[in-house]
């Protein structure tokens, strides 16, 4: 599964939070590979661990971390072994940058937007402030905004403008991988479409690798060439986008796709019964079994592994397991 071309390989990434009620198993057994210029869409319901995955990769974690382990191999090196200071210097924004969910609040209210876009250059590349600001202005223009917007304060920009500025900020140091954490969820539909087109354009120009985190399967299909489905903190399906959108294998993936309304057919959107399980005390066996139409005894007693069902297509479901 691991190939020499991969930019990023994640192996058994695990992240637990400590809370008053108990330990939340937010992410478990997350493994995937990314090749250069891939766009991996990470999809799933709210609270399934998508954003936690984004944070785990750049190591911006909340205070109540319980467990944080696994391998994150970036260009042949396991960055999980780096200490905090080395990780900050070598990985953050140099190799991986991120456009956070809700770019509305991604900017410090008291600094000008241009400076905040330029800041990583000053920190990491030790550029003069003036030179860094010039580069920031150019990049802001490339995002389709007037360069003078660099001299504005965040509150003087609209939501869509801030999102463009946040993308410019993510690109300023020319990182390998850009994580997009719900980059359009707070925007209106037209602005969403503009931002997605912009993301496509700069991906080709900058030869970027994206990890695109979203709950919106439609948007994901616009950008992604690969799809990872996360359910209750575990990856349940990983495949190429073409196959995923036409022949999803996991019952959960099927349910997700069936729940999306379409204009071109008469099919009525369906829904998945039940609610996502508690991550403090997840169901035994397959975590999806209480909501699964196809579940049988084995599903509640034994945990399925990721089974290979095709080229680059993995599914965590007993329907495709060896024992069947």
């Amino acid at each position: 599964m691991s190939s020499s071309k991969s930019v990023l390989s994640v192996r058994d990434l695990k992240l637990y939070y400590r809370t008053r009620k108990g330990v939340v198993k937010a992410l478990e057994e997350i493994s995937f590979d990314l090749e250069k210029e891939d766009t991996l869409a990470v999809v799933g319901e709210s609270g399934c661990g998508k954003s936690t995955l984004a944070r785990a990769l750049v190591r911006v974690l909340p205070r109540n971390i319980h467990t944080y382990e696994g391998k994150v191999i970036l260009e042949g090196r396991n960055v999980m072994e780096l200490n905090e200071e080395d990780f900050r210097r070598e990985i953050r924004w140099r190799k991986i940058s991120i456009v956070f969910q809700g770019a509305m609040n991604s900017f410090n209210p008291v600094y000008k937007v241009g400076y905040q876009v330029a800041e990583p250059l000053i920190i990491h590349d030790h550029l003069e402030k003036k030179e860094a600001l010039k580069r920031a202005r150019q990049l802001i223009e490339l995002m389709g905004m007037p360069g003078v917007f660099a001299d504005r304060y965040p509150f003087e920009l609209s939501g869509g403008m801030k999102q463009r500025a946040a993308i410019a900020m993510a690109l300023i140091t020319n990182p390998e991988i850009v994580i997009l954490d719900e980059p359009t969820s707070a925007l209106d539909v037209l602005t969403q479409a503009n931002i997605i087109n912009l993301l496509k354009k700069i991906k080709n120009e900058f030869k970027l690798t994206y990890i695109f985190i979203t709950h919106d399967l439609g948007l994901a299909s616009e950008l992604a060439n690969r799809v990872a489905v996360i359910y209750a903190g575990k990856m349940v399906e990983l495949s190429s986008a073409d196959i995923f959108y036409t022949q999803p294998k996991h019952p959960y993936s099927k349910g997700l796709l069936a729940s999306v309304p379409t204009l071109s057919t008469d099919r009525r959107p369906e829904f998945i019964t039940g609610v996502p399980p508690s991550l403090i005390d997840p169901p035994s066996g397959c975590r999806f079994h209480p909501r699964c139409r196809f579940a049988w005894e084995k599903c509640s007693s034994e945990e399925p592994a990721m089974f290979q069902v095709g080229k680059d297509h993995l599914v965590r479901c007993w329907l495709y397991g060896d024992g069947k």
Binding site: V60, N105, N108, V110, E119, Y153
Partner: protein, 354 residues
């Protein structure tokens, strides 16, 4: 360079603040004079002393009772007129107001300054430097100690020291002078290393440098008592303040961008909250100018707090009103200055309209 409309904004704020200043000073005049009761007491005092004088004056011994009474009445009326006591209190209160607002603080009824003056202005000015020296210094020290300590502890959220501070915070309900008494017991009574109170050694050193050192030595215990009293709650509240602001999205972005932790703390946690930090500091400093009645008493410190206590117990309205008037003016000027500073610190506050 001055933005359009800025002067209009300042003028508007000034008028509003002056109105509250007038109301505050007038209310304190009514209260300090017990709504005019003090005038009646002064009148009664006056009548009694004139009566005693006339009765005891041998020159008037030969006169009949009614003649003596006439002399007493005319002297009393003259005295009332001389002091303006023949006009009703309501009219007099407006004069008091005008004088207080123009800093014409008049003379005290009973209190005198150490140099023997009855001028309220001199009485207050004599005490002000000691109060500023002790309480403003300790307020500023406390403020920065708690601010930077709070930031440090916020970064160690959930650690042993963090939990210890949270547990100790309620001890700050104990006022500083309680610690003061214990400090005097330890450092004076027991260890004999520091003086129990007062401003300088007796006799005061002639050399200004030695004089200053002696004053410093006398400041250690009162300052220490206030630092201990304010420490845990101060650290705890600053730590909580910074914890709340360090979960802002832009702080996480700054961390993800790879900014060094110090730069995140200073530029992304502290800087956006600077307006509230500066408000806290300015108001604390103004608060310190009132002195502290009990601490000054415990440490025998000649400051404004003890002056106010003395003025209240006589009561001596001109001194009370004088202290309030000075305080009210300082507060008004500070609030106005803060309004202007905010606009420069936080770009979102374009108070004079865009």
């Amino acid at each position: 360079m001055i933005p359009k409309g800025f002067l209009k904004f300042v003028a508007k704020r000034t008028v509003l603040l002056l109105i509250s200043l007038v109301i505050a000073v007038y209310i304190s005049i009514l209260l300090a004079n017990f709504g005019g009761l003090i005038d009646e007491m002064v009148k009664a005092d006056l009548l009694m002393s004139i009566t005693m004088n006339v009765r005891n004056n041998p020159a008037y011994q030969g006169l009949t009772a009614s003649e003596r009474q006439r002399i007493i009445d005319s002297m009393y009326q003259a005295a009332l007129e001389a002091r303006g006591l023949n006009t009703p209190f309501l009219v007099r209160s407006l004069y008091h107001l005008k004088n207080a607002l123009t800093m014409d603080l008049g003379t005290a009824l009973y209190l005198t300054s150490d140099s023997g003056s009855k001028q309220v202005r001199l009485i207050i000015l004599e005490r002000l430097p000691q109060t500023v020296m002790l309480f403003t210094t300790v307020t500023v020290i406390n403020f920065f100690l708690n601010l930077l300590g709070g930031l440090f502890i916020a970064r160690k959220y959930g650690s042993k020291i963090d939990r210890a501070i949270a547990a100790l915070a309620p001890t700050s309900v104990i006022p500083g002078w309680v610690y003061g008494i214990f400090l005097i017991l330890i450092f004076y009574t027991w260890l004999h290393v520091l003086p129990p109170g007062g401003l300088v050694d007796y006799p005061p050193p002639k050399d200004p440098a030695l004089y200053f050192l002696s004053v410093l030595k006398h400041m250690i215990l009162p300052m220490l008592s206030w630092i201990i009293a304010g420490l845990f709650l101060g650290l705890y509240s600053n730590r909580t303040f910074f914890l709340i602001f360090s979960t802002e999205d832009y702080v996480e972005v700054a961390r993800a961008k790879g900014l060094p932790p110090r730069q995140v703390d200073m530029g992304y946690v502290m800087r956006p909250t600077l307006p509230s930090i500066i408000t806290g500091l300015s108001l604390a400093i103004i608060g310190s100018w009132g002195g502290a009645i009990i601490t000054e008493t415990v440490f025998d410190w000649p400051g404004l707090g003890r002056l106010l206590a003395a003025a209240l117990s006589y009561p001596d309205p001109p001194v009370i009103v004088g202290e309030v008037a000075i305080y009210a003016w300082l507060l008004t000027i500070t609030v106005l200055t803060l309004d202007v500073i905010y606009a420069f610190l936080d770009p979102r506050v374009k108070v004079w309209g865009g």
